[in-house]
Symmetry: C2
């Protein structure tokens, strides 16, 4: 089909929303290493996860052989609220850069949660409802995941208890109000509502909290209340499975116009967006059908792939969650508070970690001032104000497009634009006022963190 | 076509973006009364407007005979960034209400300005660029118009000076940062940068400003700087003309599925959204081709249509702008500060005023607590967090749908969802905390305001 016929925005029809999620693990020759019990250092059994997670989600979490999972009708009904999301041809950006490269981005920000998180939130809420639960608990930092989960729970009339890191609760009252609009209970963490919260408050009066602490509170409430389970918005295999809807739609839209990408780029924090975007493309690569360059972009302030160790580690700071083999900076590692975007997780999805280890994808780390420069340029030419997280992918897409300009190659670049930055204007303000700096951990800091990794015999 | 085939979201193709704006005035038997010079009380000539507004826009403002204006290619190129906007079938809302009514809404919030304002901002920026100007000035209250204009000016590389009411500048720093992201200069008003600003500051030290004062500053800067003109985001005929793209797309989408609306509902502040949404439908009504019930919804706290006088009045508090014949509460009227949404303008588009006066449309006023109740219900079932302004239309659409439930009629209702509420969470917080009240002006207050209306011989 002729190049000029590709519209600015490719919208699939409602009937083209994927009806199955794709599980990359099924096509991996080397499977991700299993989760381990943090106490016994033995492979976790489904029964051990059942008190924390919903039954159906435990099955999805542990299944590394089933390639396709049908998406239940009830979830498809909800997907119609905001999906298919557009695949946008970045004509304005290409023109601005003067590059022969063809740039596309899959935009997941056109929903009230402001990001792709809703794709998994609605799935997790659905399985909780199906199991007859009363509600779910979770933690949230910046608030995107909490917002998505609130929307999903409201749809299925489930109770939703969100533990929000206290500093964010106070500094991001708008996100909190969006969650309240959807009927969620939002508690600043650490709080007096849990044993672990009271302990932390007693030990550190006046603490502004951490994600690790909020996770511990959310898990405690789930485990100690009848009819509640805990849900998580990234890192987990089940989340990557649900997020595969992003990549499946992207591929369907490109196939419609006969376009094959050369380079696929996504930002990587815990891996939910990247794992979702690349899923069907990685499937083809794993099966040896096609080849793609796949690039994970992480912040230089939290460089799990590029400077981390591939080892078993705790998923949470509180060391109560399972051990996972992944690229990690050590579960005590905390990126500089000056770091503006999300992508602050010390580890990485076990699936993506294995794929990176086995050479199926590349990774690079970028500094945040350059990320915000890219974000502002993108906002001006493409008209979408990107989230700081998403802007990591924008930065590298621009870099690759500029390489094409030098070499004269007309490569096709696809990147994931995971969300909008409307609730991140404090970071933009810092950038505009010249107060943003780059904070990169030293080798000594990382070595000290690695020294605390648990010793696990595999 | 069978009812069940209508998708949740109707997206027109890019090629179906309207290529002409429609000017309702051309089909009006009784034309809107002309603007008058505030000093001489004589009909304003184009030359008198030229120092303030761009030439081409003055022509559009005064032309009440040309029905269609071609949309320049450069503007169409920009429209492709975010148009066509979706027409959404409110299946979730219908189900929640249990109504036989069929509800559709045209959603203009999926762009970074967060509202329909961008449709006119890009047109006004284009004509400024075409005239070879250096830049434009404007005022902004809540910041939606300022954001839209910043985006448009960035696209055409025009300087953009925004005077933002000081209280909003301080309380809505996020909106300000979005404007800065697009390169605009945002000055809190009143400021030391203008003569009028200095005078006001001297007379009222510590004032937090008003829209009227910000207009005066923006106009002064436009008139006293070479290569600058002033632009305005509502009320004007030219703005309604540009906004007709909303209604034209809505009609095209409905026609595609053979749907004829019975009731069309829009919120009304200055009239830009309502005038745009109803344009082609009103055209049919004016030409006697079809009939529609058209309802303007205004806040009970600022009820221009339902309790105002149809008379000549100043468009601004500073009394420097032209006199317009419109439904007005008096240019000194200031709605209660407790009023949360936009829609605070004391007057109304002259075109819509004449149409209302001649019986072509209805109007109703709603109280803000009931508006926020409707907004929250809508957010929960339809997944879009609406702006307070848009929620006025939601409230009445719900009321009409519930009437259908009583009578069993399956009327087709279309309303305008002008924007998202991401930057209005302070108002939602007030609502959640039970601190929102309804503030309705007394008859005595209105009479006192009417007594100050200028005496004009027509």
């Amino acid at each position: 089909m002729s190049e000029t016929k590709i519209p600015y925005k490719i919208y699939l029809d409602e009937s083209e929303i994927p009806r199955q999620w794709y599980n990359m693990r099924a096509d991996m020759k080397v499977k991700p290493a299993p989760l381990m019990n943090p106490g016994t250092h033995k492979k976790l059994a489904a029964e051990e996860l059942a008190p924390i997670f919903c039954e159906e989600l435990v099955k999805q979490e542990l299944d590394d052989t089933t390639a396709y999972f049908p998406i239940p009708e009830e979830i498809l009904d909800f997907y119609k609220m905001y999906r298919p999301s557009p695949l946008i041809r970045a004509y304005y950006l290409e023109k601005k850069l003067g590059t022969p490269a063809k740039i596309y981005y899959k935009f997941e920000g056109n929903n009230t949660s402001g990001s792709h998180k809703l794709n998994s939130a609605i799935a997790q809420a659905y399985y909780a409802k199906k199991q007859g639960l009363k509600g779910v608990t979770t933690e949230t930092g910046a608030g995107q995941w909490g917002t998505a989960l609130s929307m999903a729970c409201s749809y299925f009339d489930l109770d939703c208890k969100v533990y929000m890191v206290k500093v964010s609760y106070e500094q991001k009252p708008f996100r909190r109000e969006v969650m309240r609009t959807y009927g969620a209970t939002v508690t600043p963490s650490p709080s007096e509502t849990t044993e672990v919260g009271r302990k932390i408050l007693a030990a550190h009066p006046g603490t502004t909290g951490s994600l690790g602490c909020a996770i511990s509170e959310a898990v405690e409430v789930a485990v100690s209340n009848d009819g509640y389970r805990y849900v998580l918005g990234s890192v987990l295999n089940q989340v990557l499975l649900h997020q595969s809807v992003i990549g499946l739609e992207t591929k369907a839209a490109l196939d419609k116009y006969g376009v094959k990408p050369d380079i696929i780029i996504g930002c990587a924090g815990g891996g939910s967006n990247l794992g979702g975007l690349i899923a069907p493309f990685m499937g083809e690569k794993l099966r040896g059908e096609k080849d793609y360059r796949i690039i994970a972009v992480e912040p230089a302030s939290c460089p799990s792939f590029t400077r981390g160790k591939f080892a078993y580690d705790f998923c949470d700071t509180g060391m109560i969650c399972p051990l996972a083999k992944m690229y990690t900076l050590g579960c005590d590692f905390i990126p500089s508070p000056n770091h503006a975007g999300g992508l602050r997780f010390h580890g990485m999805s076990t699936t993506l970690s294995q794929l990176y280890h086995d050479g199926y994808m590349e990774a690079c780390a970028v500094e945040q001032t350059s990320v915000f420069e890219a974000a502002e340029m993108f906002a001006r030419v493409e008209g979408i104000l990107p989230a700081p997280e998403s802007s990591h992918a924008i930065k590298v897409a621009i870099d690759e497009a500029l390489k094409c300009k030098e070499t004269g190659e007309d490569k096709t670049i696809v990147f994931g634009l995971t969300g909008t930055g409307y609730f991140d204007m404090v970071a933009y303000e810092k950038f505009h006022d010249g107060l943003m700096t780059d904070q990169i951990p030293t080798d000594e800091e990382l070595e000290a963190s690695f020294a605390k990794l648990p010793h696990i015999e595999e």
